[in-house]
């Protein structure tokens, strides 16, 4: 059985609520069967709207949404067979855990024995066996969350949508739930569309991430590529930390360009710049810049330490470098650590391939 690479397809979808502003602009997105895809973006970027359109609670203003090759724009939500985990779990407070899980099966007129079996299986999947008779209010946030996941999966939907399901949990629980959901996804192979504004959540869990901004997908790629090779300055800024230099391209070759800053020049990797004279924002991940590099690097500068912040596993160092006092360095805390002191001068170097010249901000 081959996986359908276009299991869910947004085909030129536009969405406007008031007829004046487009919340989603010309969205083209294919989701493969069994994939875990995350829609990531700041609030108001249109990601939740996309999810709601897929679930059937909102209708596209223009364009079609296809599920397994069939247009579903005119199918009401209850006939789409799409499971959904809501932001606040949306467990039915007047039903027990069992009744909550049995609800989707009962409305499908499944036999009683079959319901028992499926509920059992779903609960053991989220390791909540024995909680059948509890009311949702008697469960902790993490347990409610797991019940919500189990309920969305119990009727074997083709696609499961998750709308910031971990937003209400505390940090530790959120991290363990991330792994749990990831493992459930791997073990049953359901297609998951996940919405979040938390980039680390997206990086941890997804096969692919669609970064949304301003109603558009800015970049759609796997987590590593998204982090290492952002295609524009929004993505570079939004995912992970980022040092930026604004300047103008003064020389360009195939894989290298020279960017003129206010009072110096750096070498960068031309990504979205094509010709001389273009304005650009150069993006550099903090961990790609090294202190006192031993190897030869094509960008070598001296900066002055402005601030040292201890972070447990690493230390963040803010430098005044190339006229900007916002340059951040991440130094792992190891035994061979350097003595870093404020107002000390240090040498910094990085490779031009790591400095990506993107569209100007």
């Amino acid at each position: 059985m081959s996986k359908n690479p276009e299991f869910v397809k947004f085909d030129k979808v536009d969405k406007s609520y008031d007829g004046k502003v487009l919340v989603v602009k010309d969205l083209q997105l294919d989701i493969a069967e069994g994939e875990f895809i995350t829609m990531l973006g700041p609030s108001g970027s249109g990601k939740t709207t996309c999810l709601m359109m897929l679930a059937g609670f909102e209708t596209p203003t223009h364009g079609e949404i296809l599920l397994d090759g069939n247009i579903i724009s005119n199918i009401p939500p209850h006939k789409r067979g799409i499971g959904m985990v809501f932001q606040n779990y949306a467990l039915f407070p007047h039903m027990t855990v069992y009744e909550n899980l049995a609800f989707p099966l009962r409305v499908r007129k499944v036999e009683k024995d079959e319901i028992d079996k499926k509920v059992d299986k779903a609960l053991s999947m989220v390791s909540l066996s024995g909680f059948e008779t509890r009311m949702p209010a008697q469960l902790s946030g993490g347990q409610q969350q797991r019940v919500a996941v189990a309920r969305a999966l119990v009727f074997d939907p083709a696609v499961v949508l998750m709308d910031e399901p971990l937003g209400a949990l505390d940090k530790n629980l959120r991290e363990s739930m991330q792994y749990e959901i990831k493992h459930i996804h791997e073990s049953i192979g359901v297609t998951v569309v996940y919405v979040t504004h938390d980039q680390s959540e997206a990086l941890t869990m997804s096969n692919r991430i669609a970064v949304f901004n301003d109603g558009k997908v800015q970049q759609l790629s796997n987590p590593a590529e998204l982090y290492e090779k952002p295609v524009n300055s929004f993505v570079a800024e939004f995912i992970g930390e980022n040092n930026t230099f604004n300047g103008e391209v003064i020389d360009i070759a195939k894989d290298k360009c020279k960017v003129k800053l206010a009072n110096s020049e750096i070498l960068a990797n031309p990504i979205s710049v094509k010709s001389k004279g273009e304005k650009t924002t150069v993006s550099l991940r903090p961990e790609r810049a090294l202190i006192n590099p031993t190897d030869k690097m094509d960008n070598m500068f001296t900066g002055k330490i402005e601030e040292v912040i201890y972070h447990g596993d690493h230390t963040r160092v803010r430098l005044n470098l190339l006229g900007s006092s916002e340059f951040i360095l991440k130094v792992p805390n190891s035994t061979s650590n350097l003595e870093l002191k404020v107002s000390q001068d240090i040498n910094i170097g990085w490779n031009s391939t790591d400095a990506r010249a993107l569209d100007p901000k």
Partner: protein
């Protein structure tokens, strides 16, 4: 030693419990003083009047105090034949005291309620006593019996005997169309005179249907209020509350203008050809008028509790219901509706209890077939001045409400009520 619970002491050696009580005492007194005015107000305006009403409804001391000697002698009388000489004599002396105090009239009125015909014969007796026609040296029994033939009838003396106890349930029986028969047993009044029972049933019926109509109309309104965007829901809320800001009398009067035979509604029906001009339906001074006006007036009491409950129901629950495969109806019926039950309970209880004691509206638009028990109570308060009967019916109404509340508590649970 292990069974002995160790007392925890503070650093000063005072037991912790004592220390805690001492620390909390000031706060407790403060809290009580804050509540005290309301408590006092409630006792004066609520507990006291109801107690007064209760004692009035069973009070029968007036006559007991008027005829002390008579009742004492009557204790020996078996009540089957005419009472012996001593009873007549005692009655005569009691009556003489009353004549001197000018209170014989009250006695006549009171006894007349017990049995018709007493008023005239006490007046006759009064004239004889006033003119000192009764010779105290010979048999008083003979002389009284000569005043009127009713004084020779045993039923009248039985009636006097029945008034002897200082307390009576007669008013309550009357409220249920029953009375004490001559032999003291409880009997129903003749079928064509059982008006109170009809009124009780009608009150329950109207209260029930008004509650039902309020629910059927209020539920969608409340839902709309809870789900509409703010700017529309505020406007709708004002529409719901607008009747509250208008005097009850004005609202009822406007319903009279609308519903009368030459009124706006009838004009409209004639205009669209629904009814003939010479055959306009009667929509006022009957149950229809009462239903329409009371439903409109009590609607906010249904909408507000429902609204406050629906406002707390997350819209994502309905979405969850739908996304899990429930049709919109199933999602509503299995998910939304059960969550609104506390609001339904509160609204229905509120409307029903208000409706069961409603007064002005049925009095104005109800007509003969639309009057309720409260109108009857008012009638006895103002027209017949039988306050003890009015009190008795008032208390019956109150206990009826308490019973309904109790049943409701058993069925739904008062904890489930949510007023806001």
């Amino acid at each position: 030693m292990s069974s002995e619970t160790k007392k925890i002491l503070t650093t000063d050696g005072i037991p912790l419990e004592v220390s805690l009580k001492k620390a909390e005492k000031k706060n407790k007194i403060k809290a009580f003083l804050l509540v005290a005015p309301l408590l006092l107000f409630l006792i004066i305006t609520y507990v006291f009047p109801i107690g007064e009403m209760f004692s009035r409804s069973i009070d029968d001391k007036m006559i007991t105090n008027m005829l002390p000697k008579t009742f004492k002698e009557m204790e020996k009388w078996d009540g089957k034949e005419l009472p012996p000489e001593e009873v007549f004599t005692a009655f005569y002396y009691d009556f003489k005291v009353l004549v001197e105090k000018q209170e014989h009239g009250k006695l006549g009125q009171r006894l007349n309620k017990e049995k018709n015909g007493f008023n005239s014969i006490t007046k006759k007796l009064f004239r004889q006593v006033k003119r000192k026609k009764i010779d105290e040296s010979v048999s008083i029994k003979e002389q009284i019996m000569k005043v009127h033939k009713r004084w020779r009838t045993v039923e009248y003396w039985q009636a006097i005997k029945r008034t002897a106890p200082p307390y009576t349930m007669a008013k309550y029986l009357k409220g249920m169309d029953m009375y004490y028969a001559a032999d003291g047993s409880i009997t129903q009044v003749e079928e064509d005179r059982r008006i109170h029972r009809i009124l009780w049933l009608r009150t329950l019926e109207i209260a029930f249907f008004v509650t039902l109509f309020c629910f059927l109309m209020g539920y969608p309104i409340a839902h709309l209020l809870a789900t509409l965007p703010m700017k529309y829901s505020n406007l709708l809320m004002i529409c719901v509350l607008l009747p509250f800001w208008t005097s009850l009398l004005v609202r009822t009067a406007s319903w009279m203008i609308l519903l009368q035979q030459q009124g706006v509604v009838n004009d409209f029906f004639v205009m669209i050809g629904l009814v003939a001009d010479d055959n306009r339906p009667e929509m006022m001074y009957n149950k229809v008028g009462t239903y329409v006006a009371m439903t409109q007036i009590l609607l906010p009491f249904m909408v507000l509790p429902l609204y406050s409950v629906m406002k707390t129901i997350s819209p994502s629950l309905m979405r969850a219901g739908k996304s899990l495969g429930g049709t919109p109806f199933v999602a509503f019926w299995k998910v939304y509706f059960p969550l609104t039950i506390p609001g339904i309970g509160a609204g229905c209880l509120l409307v029903f209890i208000l409706a069961i004691g409603y007064y002005i509206t049925p009095a104005l638009v109800g007509g003969a077939s639309g009057t309720l028990i409260s109108n009857q109570i008012a009638f006895h308060m103002k027209q017949t001045l039988d306050w003890s009967f009015a009190s008795a019916m008032g208390l019956m109404l109150l206990s009826g409400v308490l019973v309904i509340y109790w049943i409701y508590n058993k069925l739904v649970g008062v904890d489930n009520i949510k007023l806001g």
